[in-house]
């Protein structure tokens, strides 16, 4: 039997081809009945000039042997197996067919992805943003879109929940667009959502973060204001709620939190852009977040995005005294600012709200800090005034990339 084997396959020596395609190649599954048959296949395997490609090598009688055979050798190998009484079946009739189909499928899929692909480097409407949230939630099993409430004009407040499991894991909160005219923040939040989702499983830091903690991201905290900046007034900042007794509309949602509410740095005039509202949490956009965070009960960080000025701030705003965790927050803030700077050289100033920008009462991170969420930071993104709120779209992705590095640095600290 061995002699026959050597004879047949030596004859094929000269027929060895330099293969560029797999036209006519077949993949056989060979079922060996005993050790003898296994040995014969192992001998076959050793004949390198045949260029047999064993997908599963012969090892023990009970295990199948899969082998790809170049077109020119297919008939001879089959003849040999039959003459030896070795059973086989055809797994793949023509390998090139299979490869061609696969290539076509991949091209079609890429085409589908390209045409439905979201351009993170441009400004979008609320509808487009909500569509992309749905897309992210459907594409990633650990991403879920939840609704935590609705705005004054009854638009849903959508939050992306990133969770790889567990129940009630310690969580991180990130929001953007509480002031609707700060367009780079909603845009950056979307880029960041996509970044986190696509990096899970490949980036060690994100993977270990999401393996231990949940992340909740609210990309458009003030949807009514956001729509208004698209339809009517690009410079609109506040909510769009009607104020009893006034012709003016809207409350500054970042003066409406229950932290030094009504104190210095907020206006009591409804027509003012920093109007604090009739009472703390009067704005449903604020109350929805407060209720959600309180009922969750296990948030460890509260991060919020604003623009512009390039600042990285921590509490307090409503008073000018330092928080108890001043040293740690200052140090972490500096580390995060360094991470931001490492990418494009963009410098962020670090400090308390009160010292860095102004005294301002009723702010979100003061509330979160006073409610036990130690790692409370507010970012003011690009730029420093040249374009201000009207940051060119070409800067969205660079801004998002650098901001993400700062956020990540903070999240890593929280995780550890």
């Amino acid at each position: 039997a061995n002699m026959k084997l050597i004879f047949i396959f030596s004859a094929l020596l000269g027929a060895a081809l330099c293969l560029e395609t797999f036209v006519g190649h077949q993949v056989l599954r060979i079922k060996t009945k005993n050790e003898e048959e296994v040995k014969q296949l192992q001998l076959l395997e050793s004949l390198e000039h045949l260029e047999l490609d064993f997908w599963i090598s012969p090892s023990a009688p009970a295990l199948p042997v899969d082998v790809r055979i170049p077109a020119v050798s297919v008939q001879s190998v089959k003849a040999f197996l039959e003459s030896q009484g070795i059973e086989y079946s055809i797994l793949i009739e023509d390998l090139q067919d299979v490869l061609d189909k696969e290539k076509q499928e991949m091209a079609e899929s890429a085409q589908r992805q390209r045409s439905s692909s979201f351009d993170f480097g441009t400004y979008h409407t609320l509808d487009d943003i909500n569509e992309e949230l749905d897309h992210l939630a459907s594409e990633y099993s650990f991403v879920e879109k939840i609704q935590i409430g609705q705005s004054y004009e009854q638009r849903p407040l959508y939050v992306l929940k990133f969770s790889t499991g567990g129940s009630g894991r310690p969580a991180i909160w990130l929001d953007a667009g509480i002031h609707s005219r700060e367009w780079v923040t909603q845009a950056s939040a979307l880029w960041i959502a996509n970044k986190i989702a696509s990096d899970y499983g490949t980036d060690a830091s994100i993977t270990s973060l999401l393996d231990r903690m949940d992340l909740f991201l609210l990309p458009v905290s003030n949807p009514d204001g956001f729509v208004y900046t698209h339809t009517s007034n690009r410079m609109w900042r506040k909510t769009r709620s009607k104020i009893p007794g006034s012709v003016c509309i809207g409350v500054d949602p970042n003066r409406n939190w229950d932290a030094g509410f009504g104190g210095p740095g907020a206006s009591d005039k409804p027509c003012s852009d920093s109007y604090h509202g009739p009472s703390a949490n009067s704005e449903v956009e604020v109350k929805s977040v407060v209720d959600f965070i309180k009922s969750h009960g296990n948030f460890k960080a509260f991060l919020t995005l604003h623009s512009y000025s390039q600042l990285l701030m921590y509490p307090y705003g409503y008073k000018c005294t330092r928080p108890d965790d001043y040293a740690e927050l200052e140090s972490l803030g500096r580390a995060a600012a360094n991470s931001i700077r490492s990418l494009y050289g963009t410098t962020f100033q670090v400090g308390t709200i009160c010292k860095t920008i102004y005294q301002a009462s009723g702010g979100s991170i003061d509330w979160s800090y006073d409610n036990g969420i130690k790692y409370s930071f507010a970012f003011e993104l690009r730029d420093t005034g040249r374009y201000g709120f009207l940051l060119p779209a070409s800067q969205i992705i660079p801004a998002a990339q650098e901001t993400w590095l700062g956020l990540k640095r903070i999240m890593e600290h929280v995780r550890d």
Binding site: T122, Y123, M235, T347, G388
Partner: protein
Amino acid sequence: ELPPSHFPAARAAAVAVGYLRYLRGGPGRGLQLRELRRARRQDIDDVGHKYDLELELEDVLDRDRTVTCTAEVVYHLGNKNTAPDVQVTVQGELRSTEEADQEFYNRIRSLEKELEAENIPDSHGNIPPELEPILLLAWVASGYVIWRNSTENTKFHLAQVKHVKQVKRSDEDLQFDYVVLLHEMVSQEVIPWEVTLLWHPRRGGRVSR
């Protein structure tokens, strides 16, 4: 001595930059603050608060180089209607804009219809290239407004040119009637402001209204 990252120094710096834009800005030169290096504050009895600043400035059209500038900003006590006094010294050379200024001047003078535009930049931050000089002249005009109207409790930035209309004149000046939106950081208000700028390549810019 004041920390440059704290707001009192930053507000005074914004006034100095406004003043500098008015003095030295033009259709081919847009000065902006690269970094506030040092700041000191002195309270002068019966006068007001004096800020001494060391600024690093850049021209947005020539960002590879910077110039250092020392500025003194005095906010006067009491009368809120008095503009702060500003003195500046620029160390080093700013890039010459003679050619670009003359080209711009000739282009506008030769327009058949008076130039008119709005929303510069637009909502997405876009500026048509031919309107860049118009925006930079708005920086000159708003620089004046910001200087004249600032206090220690305000920080103004030009948010947008809402509207601009050229007005042809019988003399040699170009005239632009602007409606600018100024963003005031402390109150967060965005305030429309009408300002008329007269400009000439050799005489520079001045606000007439």
